[in-house]
Assembly symmetry: D2
Homo-oligomer: 262 residues x 4
């Protein structure tokens, strides 16, 4: 009968100011509405479509800003890592280390993330790759266990469905929960439309898919949010405007309460 | 703020006795729990995997049995039709004429169904084909409108996802509702695993997907049910045991109430 | 060591004149280049996207025109049928009865087609549905055998691949040939892009896919062709211009010869 | 009118002995049959299904063995790299640096590979990810160009097609060639059946798909081969037995000659 967890924040650390402003507002909403909320922001978008795309401030500057977020808001933080060497420093700051979907089969990355997270009683959150069946996530789970990790989460973020489309197979949620791990539903990347000059998105589908996932029993919702998505430097078309976040989260909490009841 | 509608019954008319027994129990549940419920049963399974599979009693005998269901239970009934000539007689008995997914592009079938249903102030329920995008169901909608129909429903029953698998893209629900038509979620055929000697199913996934669909806003649930699915002559692996139906429906009604509230 | 067979002609019987003109040119090419060629044209496009789309002259007028084709060109002819009752009259005229992909699971249609073709020592050509695995075509094969048919062909025309796209899994060719049936590659419908106001196509991909299929061992090529595809009343974007047909076919015959050699 | 190029060798460096034995036999075939052939072997399988799977000798030991291959056979060599830091040392030895499909969007890896390959007038070979449309490979091409690379190849190795299946869309070959890059067809990984305890394969489909790809115009064939695939430490089910390689390659060269002629 746990409450629904939220992982939220802007896609990428565009600036210290943006990150702190957003984090403070999210912290306020979390406190006011009693939402468990972890702040998420990436220090590096390591797989952007174009070489000219904004990538972020990098590991060191990024972790400094995330440290400030913790200090100034009291929120726990999470970020995604792309190379084994980024695990240890990130785990010093982040309660959750997120493994990108494309990298979820890289054994060395899982090893370093598992060890670093374990050292700090932290969590590893593996995004189910777009090319992997939910049943086959058991292999990533077993790898992390072999590396001593005892707190793992899996995230559903859509599966390849022809070209330029993802689909959420909601069966992923109970199937992956049956492995003994909490399952997060990523409402942001699920509505991506990959391909073209830059990845697009269907923002209006976020509330529908998020509700469906909560009704299906997911343990948490991942939703990127930005004060002004139209100006965002990454993933604008599928981020939630920050001023809609509280309402979005409260509605989902109601579905969660109903799931807990029945 | 309409209640959730249920379309339920055994897959195929195995016998008059089975049909009447099941219909009476469903009518009792519907009355007791105040559920809008339409009884569904097929007079012919016209596209079974094997030539040896049971197909049903055929049009005339089937409609006689469905007429008895109406008389003895007061429930409205629905059935699926496969040829243009079956539309007129079926509409005499059935409030809803169901168009099978594989046949949803056959213009003549849509024409006769639309005309026959219109004549009796009835409804046509088109199953979205497994090979059609939700957006493209607009063409079937427009065809029916051109034939004078004013009560149309669309049903989501899964989309082809590689071989031997279907996936429910829950975005289908709001996308097809935006065409001005109610959308039914078919919880039975969505969990089919096509292929092999006979089509299999994942019955344990039914409640998860049905809840997701209701949370997503669907207008009704289609669920085949049978007193003993293990003995059923068609679709056994993905039918709901009749003694679980009331509980299944009540839980979904709670999600519907929440959707209506927010 | 059989030669490659061609099934070719305009998509739909737009007029007697178009059909006879095209058939005569194809007959001339076939004679000159020693190509086994069956003339194909539909008397009814029964599943067009829109109710306003051109459908064709219907069964009776269509069969009359196909009879003239036989008489005036000496070519064998084939057409697709959509209802069980169309099988017997069509088999009087057509050497091959083609079963549309969407209808390939309709047992009654397979039964009447099998019986009618058998009566005239004819052939049934089933298009593999876009939603069926090649392995599972064995069920259609067994149905036809049960109805007494001994000359069956299967046609690969693409499999659903996300929304609005088909993909040709070339493994279909040897897998279906292993059932003991010749396999035709439909180069026209494989390049359809379903969806939108009318189905589009990628004509420039036809020669690539056709060569791949021949190299993979297919027994024949289905290719719709029209004197002026830009003016065609159906499937224009994926038909081959008639003046390119001879060259197209000759190149494929070279690949066939190589396959026969090795 | 270039000849077909072959990239061949065992999946992983199981031992110096296996690698040298295989390389010598391949060199002999290449010389005898006049085949352009690059020897491929991985020093590390960085994304194996299980933590217990064999991974290989690692970068340094692996490059030493590949150096011996060059010295003792005169063959050029290639290997796949997984981290940016592996690019420079690998380019000292390998004419081609291969970017794994899962990592093909990692900008840093493309940057280091491009720079290292350029320094030695080498080539980068990017495998098209299973989750990317062929059209969208243009972004990886442009990234590499931005990093100064002028010799790039793309490899088709299948696209996600439901769970546990890949499909080769043969249109990928001309579409990616239109970007100005040679396209290699990976006949080994295309027949993988991902999922389950270890990735399986359909070895008997290799010749069919390879022929189709060559007929479609691909510039080269990637085929892993092993003296005894049943004993191989990785990818056994989809490697070609070494004693079948010469015949396999010669047949493909015949299709290539025909493509060059027409």
């Amino acid at each position: 009968n746990l409450p629904l967890v939220f992982i939220a924040g802007p896609c990428v650390i565009e600036s210290e100011e943006l990150v702190l402003t957003t984090a403070k507002q999210l912290a306020e909403i979390a406190a006011r509405e009693n939402l468990p909320l972890i702040f998420k922001c990436s220090f590096d978008k390591a797989n952007r479509t174009s070489v000219d795309s904004f990538r972020g401030p990098g590991l060191d500057a990024g972790l400094e800003i995330l440290t400030k977020v913790k200090q100034e808001t009291g929120l726990e933080v999470t970020t995604d890592i792309h190379e084994p060497g980024q695990a240890a420093p990130s785990a010093e700051v982040c309660r959750i280390l997120q493994i990108p979907a494309f990298l979820a089969r890289q054994t060395d990355l899982l090893e370093e993330a598992s060890k670093a997270a374990s050292k700090h009683q932290g969590v590893v959150n593996i995004k189910k790759p777009q090319f992997v069946a939910p049943e086959d996530c058991i292999h990533a789970v077993k790898k992390c266990e072999a590396f001593g990790l005892d707190q793992l989460m899996l995230t559903e973020r859509g599966t390849t469905f022809g070209y330029g489309r993802l689909v959420n197979d909601m069966r992923c949620i109970p199937i992956m929960q049956n492995m003994g791990t909490p399952v997060i539903f990523d409402a942001t990347h699920s509505v991506q439309t990959p391909g073209g000059k830059s990845t697009g998105g269907q923002r209006d589908m976020i509330p529908f898919l998020a509700r469906a996932a909560v009704a299906c029993g997911c343990d948490g919702i991942f939703a990127e949010t930005h004060p002004d998505p139209s100006q965002a430097l990454s993933d604008g078309p599928n981020m939630l405007p920050l001023d809609q976040f509280a309402n979005f989260a409260l509605n989902l909490q109601k579905f969660r309460s109903l799931v807990n009841e029945i």
